[in-house]
Amino acid sequence: MIKRLFSFVLLTGLGFVFYYALTNITASRELTGVSAEYAERGAAELGAANLVTAIVVTYRGLDTLGEVSVLFLAATGIAVLLRRKKGYVQARSEDKRGSSEILKTGTDFLVPIIVMFGVYIFMNGHLTPGGGFQGGAVVASAVMLQFLSNPSYRLNHTVFGFIESMSGFFYVSIGILGIVLAGGFLDNRILPLGNFGSILSAGAIPVIYTLIGLKVGTELAGILDNMRRDA
């Protein structure tokens, strides 16, 4: 009882704080400070049509590297916690009823399209809404579809681990190349900026976002595979 009272008091207090905040918010009328600077100089400096991408990949690239590291650590932690014990035998797939022909054909038809859509999203991250994280999540959803429709589907850990580590390695390498060839760590101007608005523009941003997309896609697929276990 005292617990319920305590949480009620806490939530009411929180409600008052939020009400105070809500009544005192003034909508912004124009860009100020660092955002105005990004909006003004972003296109000319980095050549990316999508300013959010310019901020995520280049201006605040170090944050994104940290974010990728957090995701990597979480995936590693999940793999360590849910690792299969020695001598553990996966429930045999012939004990389970296989999926129907319609489901199989539908999956085979949809998976390449979903993967292609994910690749499209992360390759066009500097031009359209989207980017490495979103594209990677879409690619992982194709793996999820495989898991759901085909109980005996096994992820090839060698290939996925290889893609994941290689994309992480090249991401950091491109960042260090930025120190050597351009203005600083993760500077995208190591490659020519190209025509504004075309797919091969914005220097290294498409390359970095492709690497992030591959890394996030394989990591999320690995998390899904670890959580599935006996399925």
């Binding site: 912004s28 999508n50 300013l51 959010v52 995520v56 957090v70 979480a74 359209t128």
Partner: protein
């Protein structure tokens, strides 16, 4: 006063309520996810400017006029980060729950008293 801020704060309160009152650990993590959604909504809403468009420069938003035509791109970039970190945290927390369930076969948080004082 803005409807988006209202929804964001309502989501945060709902999530905190779930985290405080629920006994099922999966529901507690769901509460955390709802709080995250509310925070992200509020952050994006802070960057919104009435009558402006997305921060993507093309034929509709010329580079020279970008400062007067786009909403704030910085909160959007921050929320992108927050979403990914949120996914990682939730996945790790659910993994802990899976391990705890394997040990005690219970999702009820009151049965885990080892660290309680």
């Amino acid at each position: 006063m803005n409807i988006i801020f209202l929804i964001g704060f309502a989501l945060m309160i709902t999530g905190f309520w779930g985290m405080l009152t629920q006994k099922n650990m999966i529901k507690i993590i769901l509460g955390l996810a709802i709080v995250e959604t509310g925070v992200q909504l509020i952050m994006v809403a802070f960057g919104f400017i009435e009558g402006r468009t997305a921060p993507i420069l093309d034929s509709a938003v010329p580079v020279k006029k970008a400062v007067e035509m786009i909403v704030d791109p910085v909160p959007q970039a921050l929320v992108l980060t927050a979403i990914v970190i949120g996914v990682a945290v939730n996945a790790l927390a659910l993994t802990f729950i899976i391990k705890m369930y394997q040990k005690k076969k219970s999702l009820n948080i009151t049965e885990y008293r080892d660290l309680k004082w």
